[in-house]
Subunit: 116 residues, 2 copies
DNA sequence: ACCTATTTGTCCGTATGTATG
DNA sequence: CCATACATACGGACAAATAGG
C-alpha cells in the first residue's frame, strides 16, 4: 500500500491520506477484503501523527469504504468496488471535457459547484 | 443551555454531550438560529477536554443539526425543527410499545436491530 | 480457559493556523 | 488591528476488542 502526502500542500494532511487510499481503491490496487496498513506505522513512515492517520481512516469509514475494529485493523469493504466503476465514468467525463477544451481543474470546479 | 454528562456512564463523553444537545433540540429549548455554548466553556464547566466537546459538535454538524464556522461559533440549523416532530413520533411509538407491554429499552433494541 | 500481542477508541494536553466580527 | 472560536496537528496515556498461542 502506497500512501503519499505533500507537506507543502494546503489541503489537510488527513484529507491527503484519505485521498491517497481512495486512489488506491479506484485503481483497484486496494480491493474488498484488503487490509489497510496499521495507522501507527503509516504515521511513522510519513512522519505525521497517529491521530491524523486515524482521522483519515475514520473518514473513510464514515464513507462506508472501510470497516474499522479494534484489534483487527481496517478492512476495505465491497463499496470500494464501485469506486473502480466510478473512476471509469470520471475518466470518460474528463475525456469529454478535454474534447471541449476544458481542463480537469475547471471540470472539478464545475463538479464541486454542482455538488454544493 | 444545559449540557450534562455522567462520568460513570460507559457511553463516550462526546456522545453524551451530543445526546444532551439533541435532547435540547428535541424539546424545543434549542431552536434554529440559536447558538451553542462555546466549546471551551462547556469543556471547562464539565471538567472535560475541549476536543471532546468539539468532537460532539462536529458529529452534530455531520448530522446537519448545526453549522460550525471559525470565529462565529456553532449555530442550530433548521434541521433541528424536524427533531421536535420526530420526538412526537417517538413518544407515540413508545406509547404503543408500552401498551403492548414492551419497555423502551426493548423497543430501543428492536429499533437498533432494524436500523442495522 | 488463560494469557499476550495487536490495533483501534477515547481522552487529555498543548500549540498554531485561520476565518469571522 | 484585535479578540473570538473553530480547524488542524502534534504528543502521550490508558482502555477495550480482537486474534492467536
Amino acid at each position: 500500500m502506497l500512501i503519499r502526502i505533500d507537506p507543502t500542500s494546503d489541503t489537510a494532511l488527513y484529507d491527503q491520506v484519505a485521498a491517497s487510499v481512495r486512489a488506491e481503491m479506484a485503481s483497484g490496487r486496494l480491493a474488498a477484503g484488503d487490509r489497510l496498513p496499521v495507522a501507527r506505522e503509516v504515521a511513522a513512515s510519513l512522519a505525521i501523527n497517529v491521530h491524523t492517520v486515524l482521522k483519515a481512516y475514520q473518514n473513510l469509514r464514515d464513507e462506508g469504504l472501510v470497516d474499522m475494529r479494534r484489534g483487527r485493523g481496517v478492512v476495505v469493504t465491497d463499496a470500494a468496488a464501485s469506486l473502480v466503476l466510478l473512476t471509469e465514468d470520471i475518466r470518460a467525463l474528463v475525456g469529454r471535457a478535454a474534447a471541449l477544451g476544458l481542463s480537469p481543474a475547471t471540470l472539478a470546479a464545475l463538479v464541486k459547484e454542482i455538488t454544493v
